[in-house]
Amino acid sequence: MTTVTEVEEGTESPYALSHLDALESEAVHIFREVAGEFENPVILFSGGKDSIVMLHLALKAFAPAPVPFSLLHVDTGHNFPEVLEYRDRTVARHGLRLHVASVQDYIDRGVLKERPDGTRNPLQTLPLTEKIQSEKFDAVFGGGRRDEEKARAKERVFSLRDEFSQWDPRRQRPELWNLYNGRHAPGEHVRVFPLSNWTELDVWQYIAREGIELPQIYFAHEREVFRRGGMWLTAGEWGGPKEGETVEKRLVRYRTVGDMSCTGAVDSDATTLDAVIAEIAASRLTERGATRADDKLSEAAMEDRKREGYF
């Protein structure tokens, strides 16, 4: 944590903020705008690094008071056990309230059907949007970053969703200066992305600078995996491996945390934050390109899912 802002040698003014300080300050401003203007905001919290950084920023934004938001986890039923354990420990430590929207419940009730490919990521949209409606959340924080994907590069910081949670990229409000417009009609809500301007590397550098704890699956460890669609997937009860797919033990880590059925691990021997940062800085693959099967479904897979209400 810095008490004074780092000053670069040379031509910079002594008042120039370092890029991490600038991003942090902007994110905190966004959290406080939402706290000031909305009745019932919620933070989407998956136990992944982006949502962990979001929560850390929210804790700093309102210190020494508690975070004035509850958390919402969309539980696909195919979660990594280490991540669920991290989630519950974090909620307890900060005395937060956790809402859970469960994909498994929807499947058990027959409302949603398991897809032939076993991927549950697209199934999250309905439980998420129904939970937003039933709890009357009017602002929903997501950890989405514009560097992740080209449809997300078009996303506003405050993104209005209609009563069906739909995103219409052609009807977005222009976003000027830092004057965010959170007006919405009853039934509508606003998705808010405080990490819009962060890159994957920024997130990791910030985690290192702030000493934020992460679930262990982000660091290299031995794991039983099998090959599918060019990715290493974790073997488990969710439906892998199938016939013809062989399990092997490899030294891997995860770059993203999502549903086990579509989140791939990468070969890595990075066991420390510094090693992870060096690995990402040298990587020739994007985070999603390396580890997400769901984005490879079509050229506009993310845009299509976002239109339907996905985060």
Binding site: A16, A65, N197, A300
Partner: protein, 444 residues
Amino acid sequence: MSTTTTEALSATTLLRFATAGSVDDGKSTLVGRLLHDSKSVLADQLEAVERASASRGQDGPDLALLTDGLRAEREQGITIDVAYRYFATPRRRFILADTPGHVQYTRNMVTGASTAELTVILVDARNGVVEQTRRHAAIAALLRVPHVVLAVNKMDLVGYQEGVFAAIAEEFTAYALELGVPEVTAIPISALAGDNVVEPSANMDWYGGPTVLEHLETVPVSHDLAHCHARLPVQYVIRPQTAEHPDYRGYAGQIAAGTFRVGEEVTVLPSGRTTRISGIDLLGVPVDVAWTTQSVTVLLEDDIDVSRGDLIVPTKDAPPTTQDVEATVCHVADAPLTVGHRVLLKHGTRTVKAIVKDIPSRLTLDDLSLHPHPGQLVANDIGRVKIRTAEPLPVDSYADSRRTGSFILIDPSDGTTLTAGMVGESFATPEPVKDAADDDGWDF
């Protein structure tokens, strides 16, 4: 980006910039070249572009596909909306607002320029300064973007001639300075061939200035704050009411301009009550001094009434409060703005009821002439308005402060963002037009 240590990377600064250019000026190629040559395009992104280009029957990878993210954009082959791009060098991080060049998307250029510290305006060397170039310069001036780069592109198509570049640079610089653009840096480039974008050009040894990337890396990102009016819009009151902090009452906000110090005498507007700063918390850590754009929590000596929407300012440097705001605006909504329109005005952290009293003029961007009393402003129009607010507002001139001199108008019925506003005089105020021939000896 090369692998460096965590400390070296996190000490870099951030530059927000925007690009502007007409449809065929090669803006996508320049953006693609900046991303590609700074090694910010990764293998899977390039593969996706190659795959998509091949499936459309194109010979090589179409770099525009890197930046056009929406179905409709790819279908039509044009950029509709602002997209934000991220790249980095060991010296600096960049946020690029990639804005569409088309006239009908003027509002999107305004959106991109509102947060930019620098604008790159592209010109085709064969065509020189055209109407659209003047429009882009006018918007950069209006939004008071501190640095403007003129990238004279396609130098390869004019034989890399120094004379062609010098004539365009001179014409543009004269025009821009007349508009009030404080600084123009002109760079001859070929985005396609890579001349002077990231690497210096071997074809133009007559040019001794920086490449586009070098300039982006070294341009100063903040100004001397000693002469800025200090401003803190109160966003949220932090009151833990816990056993540990029973009496803590802090006023949270992002410093919009200038610096604040513990012990300083301050006034809270619009009430006008005066007290002293007893402490400043920088995200949980006490500090003695804080400055723009840090998000802080300020503690005051006296227990006075302060709430969201108030503005904390140094007592010796308080802005006047007024219910009559005169501003230059860019209308960004599809429905027109008319005299008598009842709206909401968001200024800083305060939203108040307001009414449009008058629209004295509309600006014709092509020749900067003023059309008196147009009656209404439609999408993409820039004009002067007079607004009466229901409560007094402490407004600065946009020329003094981009943050406390700006506002948006909102439609109270459906929440639509209608208009971007900049308080006070601007270049749109009629002034005798200087003869451009008076000025020579430009420093390129």
